[in-house]
Symmetry: D3
Subunit: 316 residues, 6 copies
Amino acid sequence: MMKKGIGHYNIGDSFEDFMLIKEATKGVASNGKPFLTLILRDVTGEIDAKLWDASKDDEETFIAEQIIKLKGEVNQFRGRAQLKIFSIRPANPADGVQVSDFIEKAPVKKEVLMEKITEAIFEMQNPSIQRIVRAFVTKYQEALLTYPAASKNHHEYVSGLAHHIVSMLSIAKELHILYPKLNKDLLYAGIILHDLGKLKELSGVVSTTYTLEGKLLGHISMMVEEIGQIAKELQVEGEEVVILQHLVLSHHGKAEWGSPKPPLVREAEVLHLIDLIDAKMNILNRALDKVNPGEFTARLFAMDNRSFYKPLFEEN
Amino acid sequence: MMKKGIGHYNIGDSFEDFMLIKEATKGVASNGKPFLTLILRDVTGEIDAKLWDASKDDEETFIAEQIIKLKGEVNQFRGRAQLKIFSIRPANPADGVQVSDFIEKAPVKKEVLMEKITEAIFEMQNPSIQRIVRAFVTKYQEALLTYPAASKNHHEYVSGLAHHIVSMLSIAKELHILYPKLNKDLLYAGIILHDLGKLKELSGVVSTTYTLEGKLLGHISMMVEEIGQIAKELQVEGEEVVILQHLVLSHHGKAEWGSPKPPLVREAEVLHLIDLIDAKMNILNRALDKVNPGEFTARLFAMDNRSFYKPLFEEN
Amino acid sequence: MMKKGIGHYNIGDSFEDFMLIKEATKGVASNGKPFLTLILRDVTGEIDAKLWDASKDDEETFIAEQIIKLKGEVNQFRGRAQLKIFSIRPANPADGVQVSDFIEKAPVKKEVLMEKITEAIFEMQNPSIQRIVRAFVTKYQEALLTYPAASKNHHEYVSGLAHHIVSMLSIAKELHILYPKLNKDLLYAGIILHDLGKLKELSGVVSTTYTLEGKLLGHISMMVEEIGQIAKELQVEGEEVVILQHLVLSHHGKAEWGSPKPPLVREAEVLHLIDLIDAKMNILNRALDKVNPGEFTARLFAMDNRSFYKPLFEEN
Amino acid sequence: MMKKGIGHYNIGDSFEDFMLIKEATKGVASNGKPFLTLILRDVTGEIDAKLWDASKDDEETFIAEQIIKLKGEVNQFRGRAQLKIFSIRPANPADGVQVSDFIEKAPVKKEVLMEKITEAIFEMQNPSIQRIVRAFVTKYQEALLTYPAASKNHHEYVSGLAHHIVSMLSIAKELHILYPKLNKDLLYAGIILHDLGKLKELSGVVSTTYTLEGKLLGHISMMVEEIGQIAKELQVEGEEVVILQHLVLSHHGKAEWGSPKPPLVREAEVLHLIDLIDAKMNILNRALDKVNPGEFTARLFAMDNRSFYKPLFEEN
Amino acid sequence: MMKKGIGHYNIGDSFEDFMLIKEATKGVASNGKPFLTLILRDVTGEIDAKLWDASKDDEETFIAEQIIKLKGEVNQFRGRAQLKIFSIRPANPADGVQVSDFIEKAPVKKEVLMEKITEAIFEMQNPSIQRIVRAFVTKYQEALLTYPAASKNHHEYVSGLAHHIVSMLSIAKELHILYPKLNKDLLYAGIILHDLGKLKELSGVVSTTYTLEGKLLGHISMMVEEIGQIAKELQVEGEEVVILQHLVLSHHGKAEWGSPKPPLVREAEVLHLIDLIDAKMNILNRALDKVNPGEFTARLFAMDNRSFYKPLFEEN
Amino acid sequence: MMKKGIGHYNIGDSFEDFMLIKEATKGVASNGKPFLTLILRDVTGEIDAKLWDASKDDEETFIAEQIIKLKGEVNQFRGRAQLKIFSIRPANPADGVQVSDFIEKAPVKKEVLMEKITEAIFEMQNPSIQRIVRAFVTKYQEALLTYPAASKNHHEYVSGLAHHIVSMLSIAKELHILYPKLNKDLLYAGIILHDLGKLKELSGVVSTTYTLEGKLLGHISMMVEEIGQIAKELQVEGEEVVILQHLVLSHHGKAEWGSPKPPLVREAEVLHLIDLIDAKMNILNRALDKVNPGEFTARLFAMDNRSFYKPLFEEN
């Protein structure tokens, strides 16, 4: 049986299901008549659809955040899949569907994510580091548990940021066992703090865009500043503060990638590598899930535009 | 008559004058005997000298910050000038020389520099911008008037930072007349603040090195953080704060050059260009001053390693 | 009240005004019927429009350089604005409009531009430099006062080249006051000559394209050659000639940007920087004029594809 | 008490201990007399020493692989440490020292390393992959357990290659638990095979150089070829062979780094990242071991020439 | 008279001739009706055509590899030529046309190409080199004489690979006369072997794509492996084998271009240069053939996207 | 028997022969005594030597362009060969040696080189091209036959430029036979003219340096200018002039390599490739001549710093 969700359809398949309108734009066709371009989504992906000869009524009905029931066929247009609409109607209460059914979420529950983060903070032995990290997690707890880790590319789903942090903490725990000289406090703190600036850089959980501060300063600079502020408020002093700031500042690894200083502390280097691994695994696993053994994935922008191959001897 | 100062000597010239020891390092010659490598300076430049067969006494006498009287000859060693020492002695009170005679200073007095900066702040019309800039100048006034603008490359002399700021303010004033849409408040504020982080990045005025914070965070990130702090203390809010932070953040122009965001506000772009002009003019004028018409300068590291030509029809 | 001109319209606005056809291309629609793609312009910008079901008559009427009166609405097509045509007719003498009303011009009159250039030449003290520059200005006076500075990017309007030269001369004048060691003659001469090669590289003032010589040699090489020729004709000898050639040759700053030699003379470096400033100010001012405070401009190709922000506290 | 070994000495320290001569080169001093430049090593590092006025006898005694007893002092020469020799003599049987005492070895015994590798092969479930890997390990067992992983940079010590493999296997094991979709067989096989070509690329365990084949083809190409050969000999067919070849081929990550194809299979990407982590941890741990808290390491060539900081709050 | 073939038509020309369908894709028009996008070819080039309102029957008739007779007109669509179809029918036996009439072939016959290659092998004096090359040519003779040299860019026609080899052999012969120190055996062998890996990398002669092995390993690595295998089978030993492998491995010249080692043997460097010359001449001659004197060619992707000029004084 | 000439000596060899002093520089040894650093040459290469304890007399005798007779031994200093001097004396008339015996010359006589160039001009059919080229050859005949092609890297010997031209003409002749569409006139003209600017860029045949014009404009720009001048003097008009200028302008191939325009005419591209081949063959042949089979050459700066291998199966 075919897996459910638009991400698993092929060109030519018939389609009948509920979807969420992500974006609706009005256009004028070459015959002079208005039409709507809809971007539709469910938890497995997105697809475009054109609603030709759209009436005024249609324009008011089929808007962003509206759930719809649609019958159609998956066609190809300029090399991309497009849903040909046979019939479309807005969902009604009787359908028993809700917006959150169509938005991708982390595969781990918020409570579990929070527990893991709390546990990591609890394990810390350096009180300065521990107090700063705890202050951040307390201050931003709600957003931290709902925000995506990025507006696209990797962990771009509800609770994506917390999911990313928790996966990274697991890797760090194991690396600390293999390389016991690693300072676990620093590593855990760097992981929890490294992307918290995104809570200010990104506008929110749904239809995520960049804030003005995000565009002009970036999440890294904002976070470096806030670590300084929180340390001041907590009256924490000592080298720990500047080292934590350095971990955040350098975690993109290179000036060209947005870190004005490269990692200059062992744990900063390791933080950068763990971040890479978890982001890449997230992208690869989700892309390979959508293809069969013997096939290549679509080109993955955040992986230098490579297409990855799923060997024939892999299980589907 | 030859111009005074080591910067004007040629290979083969005899030399007899006072100089300041900038660095003294002990070595062992191929004959097994100890010697001292001295880096000597006056206001026009630096030169190396070897003191062969150095006694224990010599090692204790000829140390950094000591003024000496030296007779010798300018020789060449591996393509660089080197002073051959005929005789050397430490200066004594009767000589009437002091350390500050040997250290390069800005060609404009501190008082004048301070006046110009104050005047620029006075001209500002936006109170948020004005208050933040004034707070910084008040807080750092003393260091601001003595620090160099860099540990090498350009304006690397006493009061160099303030001299650099004041020259940039003059250019900004004229550009504002030519392009009246430029926001003068922003431009002046960007100029005064852009390099203040160096007061924390560099260790001091003499034998300048980098602080730990300077190495791990850099002057740009430190300054962005402090603008946020000062704004908070002054209870200044509004877009002005983030724009000022952006001006400082982006003033190196490109990620590869240390600015995690490129200029995205008109005055940020202009700030970057004015900074380039004044730094380059400072380097070029000082290098061309040391050569005669018809000659090329030494290779200038901060100018992509180019040698510049002084045309024959220039006055010396 | 809304500012006049197509550059100030938003998606959804009704439009009724005269425009100039810049380009008209015939196409065939998916229903097999011919249509015209028109590129329309006024002094504030350009916009595309489609004339569907175009008759033979339409094809002959709506051609490049024709002024038309048009009623329509600004729509969006593939992310770009497009004029939907409700009615269209060619302008007639009674309308009292002429082609030059629709072509952007420098904001300063030709006579004033010429006066400023003449004044700069008059100020020169080195007779060799002065004679060469005067010969060029005399030879090319007419084209110099009408050509754009480029076919796109900056100062791409009637008299754009002279406007660019005169703005640069103003900056140079002020820099010379701040840095009196700059050789004013060289700087003025470099500014006046640096882009004159474009008079041969570009085909003309309207619908500017590149000449064969322009494509195969480029304006820099052509100008270097012509300085040599004119000097020969004037029997001017001495280092001035090669230095002027070097100023032109190096004014793009780097080999990758089209200068086979980088600036190796102080005034060559400054010429390059002044050129950058004036070109960038021209691009930025015109782009920011089209947006409101709190908005970003379109991406600016010649500014590394950046969008610039106009702060909320700027006047519109 | 000072840690034992030349890697822990500072400029000015007296030294008296046994060392191994790694290289001895004859030179002629400026006084016309012959001298020997010795590169000396123990398990903690290397240092240069000059033996002045060397006799014919000295030249024959003090040669590579000879153990010597030396008294001297650590001096500085052109910014590098150099041993000043007070007295030197060859070791004799009574001293009870042997060459292997002076050569760095992996901190884990050969037997343990072999056991871990065998265990990984044992866990594999795909018989094609398992047979190929087992054939390689059987064929090269002896060299595999003694070779360094590189001639310099990381794991450049006896059994370095096996140590590197075993560390990587541990990381892989944990990543497989965190990301269960990873194909463990492929990952283990890639790790064991990825650098085996170095057994042919490098000349041996001591004073390692490159073979002709190593210089002209490189270890990656040689290994890809040999996987094909071994598969043929074992009559293994199917996609596993080409995937294993791809893992080896792509493990440097980019064409510029020596991989003609970038990773295009999930496990190839992960192999590249695990390789990076273990190599970097090896370099960082060994460099940081040599400095005290509050200090920076020497510049590390294989880490983009960065110096790393050891925070004050780390234990020594 | 106009030259025959679609490559010589201009916008607006009427067209009536046979063509081969290279690709046929189904689409849905904005009016909801199906249409076919056809890519048509003859020996001079390719062109797109749309068959509107395509019936089920049309979909089954107009498929890849079908020859058709078409009347129409060359139009322009989004800046590219497109055939507007007036009438279309499949070819029938009576038309006397066949698929091979529409596929570009090398301008030299297979027999002649084979003869030249055989002759080069015959001239070799080193028996090891000769035996390896002969074994390859015997093993792959058939494919070698039909494959293109690439799927696009240069020599992308039937027998293109052999044609490329034979042209390169001619250049090598002459260079050997001018530079007699060149080892002719090596050079000839390198030329014959360098691209043979493409026989495994590319899927075949018509509608050429990449094989899995080709995508994951590339023709260079596959060929290096096979040289090793064949040498083993022939029991050829000695440095010749590794040098031949190096010639193939390095013939792209740089790591970024796919050669993990750059040329390190004289003949490897020359092989790379001869490859460049012949590939570029093939591209340039075919592109310039399609334009008239005084015109520029289309942008040539494989020539850094340059357009080349055909001088007016050239014959057409 | 060992080949004659310093280029064939190995470390440890005794040496007794005449050499020419290329450069003599005075230095002061660590014992305070003056010494001379001599750069000595014969036709096979150069070597350094130190003359310790040099007297005033020595300083006046052993100067550049002086021939000397020297006994000594080839030693190694900092990884480079150095002649240890046992005895040295200036040559006297009775020795029968002259300066030209020590300067490398092209292996072909001037007369032959001139004849080949004349012949190529004679073959040209386009009178405009022929007249321009003939005018240049007539004007510069003497220098053309004596200048090197470069101050270092390739053909850096007497008549090197003419030798380079004649070799390139031979390659062009053969390529024209293989690719008859090449315009032979253009190709020959481009070859003869491409580097003539070096006659003005370089100071002369012996101890070649750069002229001011060479440094500020470069040989390419100077030559483009002079082609324009000569064409004007000869009253040659038409596209030939600009095409010839383009050939010279573009012959370095890329902006980064000094060509402000890349080749945009077929013969310009071929000219660039032929130039590469002949320059590289000249470097490689001369470097490989100095090593034995089984050895690598020194690193070759102009070949991207590669060392080339001479296979064991090559004759020496």
